[in-house]
């Protein structure tokens, strides 16, 4: 049960990190993030139908497709509209609904399924889900890579734009291009998460809604400054939700999780790892 929380939480962290990247660099709330998660799952389903059952191959292909879509959306819609505070959440929500309707049209509203494979049996009869291990390790590796990029020289433009766009622009950086490329990269992360988690349940047009909400919660609580905090908080929430379901009731786990989040926010309104007084 704890392992399940660990596996699912680790993969949702990938989506949450993408959301944080968009919030930090592009400075918008992307409500179409869940649609890219769904896109990843459908790519995995389409590949499985053609005999390619490897989640890693599905995640890679889904990431490429989502990156292309994300760049298009970022360039054509997000960048021009991003200064209007209400237009963008509504617009990205419209994109998500449009995608759901299109997915329903193409694949139908009925649930689809990808074979998850038999679980591994560990010491003492411990059941370890194959897809869970693959998804967790892939997610951890991708997040590790993201953390390295953000802390090393290649991530310098992203950090600078997150801090001050005008200074970044005055240094000759193409701020607009970096914004839409970041948007595309974040969408690719959501799609990879969807492809990695797709064998765990059913693939449906609306499957991205719950992960969207969860990733928003994680970003709000963990803040946008630390990939490690996002990763650990996602895992923590996954385990906490399972523990509440076990100890209280399955129906109370969600309520308990949101109550814990509210308590955390009342204690640290800027997020648990936000550095007070960092910006003047």
């Amino acid at each position: 049960m704890l392992l399940d929380g660990l596996f699912a939480g680790g993969t949702y962290a990938l989506m949450a990190a993408g959301m944080a990247l968009i919030l930090g660099v592009v400075k918008v709330i992307n409500l179409s993030h869940g649609a890219f998660f769904t896109l990843g799952a459908y790519v995995a389903y389409a590949l499985a139908g053609r005999g390619v059952q490897t989640p890693l191959a599905a995640a890679a292909l889904a990431a490429v497709i989502a990156f292309a879509f994300g760049v298009f959306l970022g360039k054509s819609f997000v960048n021009p509209v991003r200064t209007h505070p209400f237009a963008l959440p509504v617009g990205t929500l419209a994109c998500a609904l449009l995608f759901e309707a299109a997915a329903q049209r193409i694949w139908g509203p009925h649930p689809l399924s990808i074979e998850a494979g038999a679980p591994w049996i560990g010491p003492g009869g411990l059941v370890i889900r194959r897809w869970g291990v693959i998804a967790f390790l892939s997610s951890a590796a991708l997040l590790g890579g993201l953390r390295w990029v953000l802390s090393a020289r290649p991530g310098l433009p992203l950090r600078l734009i997150a801090e001050d766009e005008e200074i970044a622009g005055s240094l000759g950086m193409n701020v607009e291009a970096i914004r839409y490329l970041t948007f595309g990269g974040a969408c690719a992360m959501a799609a990879a998460a969807g492809a990695l988690l797709s064998p765990s349940g059913a693939v449906t047009p609306t499957m991205g809604r719950a992960p969207l909400l969860l990733s928003l919660v994680v970003v709000i609580v963990a803040g946008m400054d630390s990939v490690a905090a996002i990763f650990l908080l996602s895992i923590g929430l996954g385990i906490f939700g399972n523990a509440c379901a076990w100890l209280l009731s399955p129906q109370w786990s969600y309520v308990a999780m949101l109550a814990a989040v509210c308590l955390l926010l009342s204690a640290r309104p800027a997020g648990i790892v936000a550095l007070a007084g960092r910006r003047d």
Binding site: M1, G108, H110, E176, G201, T204, S249, S253
Partner: protein, 400 residues
């Protein structure tokens, strides 16, 4: 970034476009165009969730009703008039279902209503049917409240008939199956929606005299299903079978979790979700997966013909519940219109009360509470239990 004045008209145009896409895609992409064309056509208003969490069941609901309408027209229509159908999206919400029912009755001028999907929606729509004295056939909503209202306030609700099984009947059908499988202890797990809770309690009461008892009961929130703990807990009590009551996509996820925790534990799926043949190829079949349906291919020539027609039209066979019962509802309604020689409620209600109407699951007759006779007794509609196997399905109950 600052927006220059010159870019503003373009921006406003984009925002208008976004607003349009926000509100209209579900309408022009998701709702099939079943609007009436002929002025003299008899209209049936069909209420089902075509968007939201129950869109899968709602879509097959409308598809099956469409098939029944086409069948009626292929047979020459009803007293020389074509039958048409107007589908309304309830979104799985009571308020939307009621307002859509009102629209169908007052603006579309439908002659009868078929629906809705969830029990809550259906109870709401009943009020519209009663207020406008219009015949309403309930296909899948199972709560006892529907027929209780007809029994208690006959004069007001006499227009409402249910072709689907009520909760006590459903529990009786499941109880008979559990007895046949020699089950002594079962786990009842499902989405935390109204009819599941009522069915869980009803089933425990009905099977108790047979020496069958629930060893574990749990309901998860459809929005955040905590499958892992429920699956582990259900497996831990070692029941003979798990009764999985979930009409939505979560049943697939739960089955996968359960099979990882207990690969040899049989599962009985009720509510239709696992009756989808497209899923059967990828769900784990290390132990029996049973599905309960109103009718199935091979039960009768009429059922086989219906399944083949549905599969030919929509590319996949029906799940046997959320599609078969709406088909039956429209078929029964059309037969009653033909017998009455009129679509007027005053003429149709007595015909429905006293007649017998052949469908794919058997012959429908309604009792004093306007409930079709499902059960295990003589003359009752018995339903079907099938078992999924890698190469297809096999009917296992009732014995044939």
């Amino acid at each position: 970034m600052t927006v220059r004045t010159g870019t503003f008209p373009r921006l406003r145009l984009r925002l208008l476009l976004i607003g349009f896409l926000h509100f209209f895609p579900p309408v022009f992409l998701a709702v099939p165009a079943f609007a009436a064309s002929a002025q003299d056509a008899l209209k049936i208003g069909v209420l089902a969730p075509l968007s939201g969490p129950y869109a899968a069941g709602g879509t097959s609901f409308v598809q099956a009703a469409t098939l029944a309408v086409e069948q009626a027209n292929a047979e020459g229509g009803v007293f020389g008039q074509r039958v048409t159908m107007v589908a309304a999206d309830t979104q799985g919400r009571v308020d939307v279902a009621k307002s859509e029912a009102l629209r169908l009755v007052s603006r579309e001028k439908v002659s009868a209503l078929v629906g809705a999907y969830l029990s809550e929606e259906t109870v709401g729509v009943m009020e519209v049917a009663a207020a406008h004295r219009i015949v309403m056939i309930v296909p899948v909503a199972a709560t006892a409240e529907i027929t209780d209202k007809v029994r208690r306030e006959y004069a007001r609700y006499r227009y409402v008939f249910r072709v689907g099984y009520s909760l006590p009947q459903w529990a009786e059908l499941i109880g008979a199956f559990l007895s046949d499988r020699k089950v002594r202890r079962y786990a009842f797990v499902g989405a935390g929606i109204r009819w599941n809770r009522e069915l869980g309690e009803m089933l425990a009461r009905i099977v108790a005299p047979r020496g069958i008892a629930p060893s574990y009961t749990a309901y998860y929130s459809p929005g955040n299903p905590a499958f892992d703990t429920v699956a582990v807990a259900a497996a831990a009590v070692s029941p003979d079978i798990v009764v999985l009551a979930d009409p939505g996509r979560n049943s697939v996820s739960f089955l996968k979790r359960l099979r990882e925790a207990a690969p040899g534990l049989p599962v009985l799926s009720i509510g239709g979700a696992l009756g989808d043949a497209r899923l059967a190829a990828s769900i784990p079949l290390s132990a029996p997966v049973y599905v309960q349906a109103a009718a199935w291919r091979g039960v009768s020539p009429a059922a086989t013909a219906y399944v083949e027609k549905y599969e030919h039209r929509y590319g996949a066979p029906p799940v046997g519940y959320s599609d078969t019962l709406p088909y039956e509802a429209v078929t029964v309604l059309v037969a009653a219109w033909r017998t009455a020689g009129s679509a007027a409620s005053s003429a149709v209600v007595p015909v429905l009360e006293h007649g017998g109407f052949p469908g794919v699951a058997g012959t429908y007759r309604f009792d004093a509470a306007h409930q079709a006779h499902w059960g295990t007794g003589p003359g009752a509609l018995r339903g079907t239990f099938v078992r999924w196997e890698r190469d297809g399905s096999r009917i296992v109950f009732p014995p044939r």
